[in-house]
Point group: C2
Chain length 169, copies 2
DNA sequence: ATTTTATGTCAGCTATGTTGACTTTCCAAG
DNA sequence: CTTGGAAAGTCAACATAGCTGACATAAAAT
């Protein structure tokens, strides 16, 4: 719809929209995502945590002080599922849940030093793979990569994604 | 390593390799992958199948006649895990497992008509999202997308990925 | 005062992964 | 021809992480 309907290719090839191309894209997503999670998964085996803990830690690090509800929206799971994860992280002293200043019903989530250390270990591994892929593909490819992924997201999530800015190093 | 170490940027900016850029890439992968699986997951709820069945069906469709072992490598799960999935698909008449002609220990896997119909329904949904994202981003972005994903894969899997060619429409 | 929201918790279920042990079939090398 | 090992299938037991449903508490909003 954006570039015109079939038959009205204004000079631009639409070969990249063939079923074969789309299927290759689907497979690329599957294989790449598996590799993408493999490194942190290996590290997490040494702890008593899983991928769900990693995700929670990631977003708490990225948006320190975010509420449980916000985290819920970003992770896209039920509160029961998140609660199980969050409870162990708080009990183990990796996450601190402070009662909200304005609204005391809310809990603002922060990583403790210990939590930040695990975050660092996990994200070092994940960023190393991402960096290597970025280097190999080059800046133009990276821009395209980000564009396609962003276009693939659900609109509500895309807004969340775009609103996240790093506050750590 | 490919484009030079920090300080020796031969005219090419390395800003795309900052931690912030890498973290945005990590988040993009997470959010996009979730959207990517959401449509087929919704369809699968109407059947007694899950995401694991979808993956098996996808690859059997893409490489009709592939052996159980090949499928195992591509899915990256244990034979016990795959067997549970494959058994229900065979019992329900979606997949046919023919004894190998040369090596009778092997099973060559094929979709039945019924299996092909489900594959079509699932992949229609998944391709629709992929097509929409490709259209929105454009052919240059798609090329970059594929390059980065490919660079992210583990080398052995990348070879499998590159060897897959479509035989269906 | 009542309703709604944010959070937490208990119980039970399902899907999908894991390891380990074992059997059957059958190719291929001695 | 026998034997070793590969391919496949199966059984059992378990872990993770998702789900629904029901219910409790505290605090904000109406």
């Amino acid at each position: 719809m954006t570039t015109g309907s079939p038959g009205t290719q204004g000079g631009e090839s639409l070969l990249f929209l063939t079923d074969e191309q789309l299927r290759k894209g689907i497979e690329a997503m599957f294989f790449a995502y598996r590799a993408f999670t493999a490194d942190p998964d290996r590290i997490l085996e040494n702890y008593e945590y899983g991928r769900a803990h990693h995700r929670a830690i990631h977003f708490i690090n990225r948006q320190p002080g975010l509420t449980v509800n916000t985290l819920l929206t970003m992770l896209g799971v039920t509160k029961q599922s998140l609660n199980r994860v969050l409870r162990t992280l708080v009990e183990d002293g990796l996450v601190e849940a402070r009662v909200g200043r304005k609204d005391k019903r809310e809990r603002n989530l922060f990583l403790t030093q210990k939590g930040a250390e695990l975050e660092r270990e996990l994200s070092d591994a994940q960023r190393a793979r991402m960096r290597s892929a970025y280097r190999a593909a080059g800046p133009a490819a990276v821009a395209g990569f980000r564009q396609v992924l962003e276009a693939m997201m659900d609109p509500e999530i895309r807004r969340h994604y775009q609103s996240i800015r790093d506050t750590s190093s």
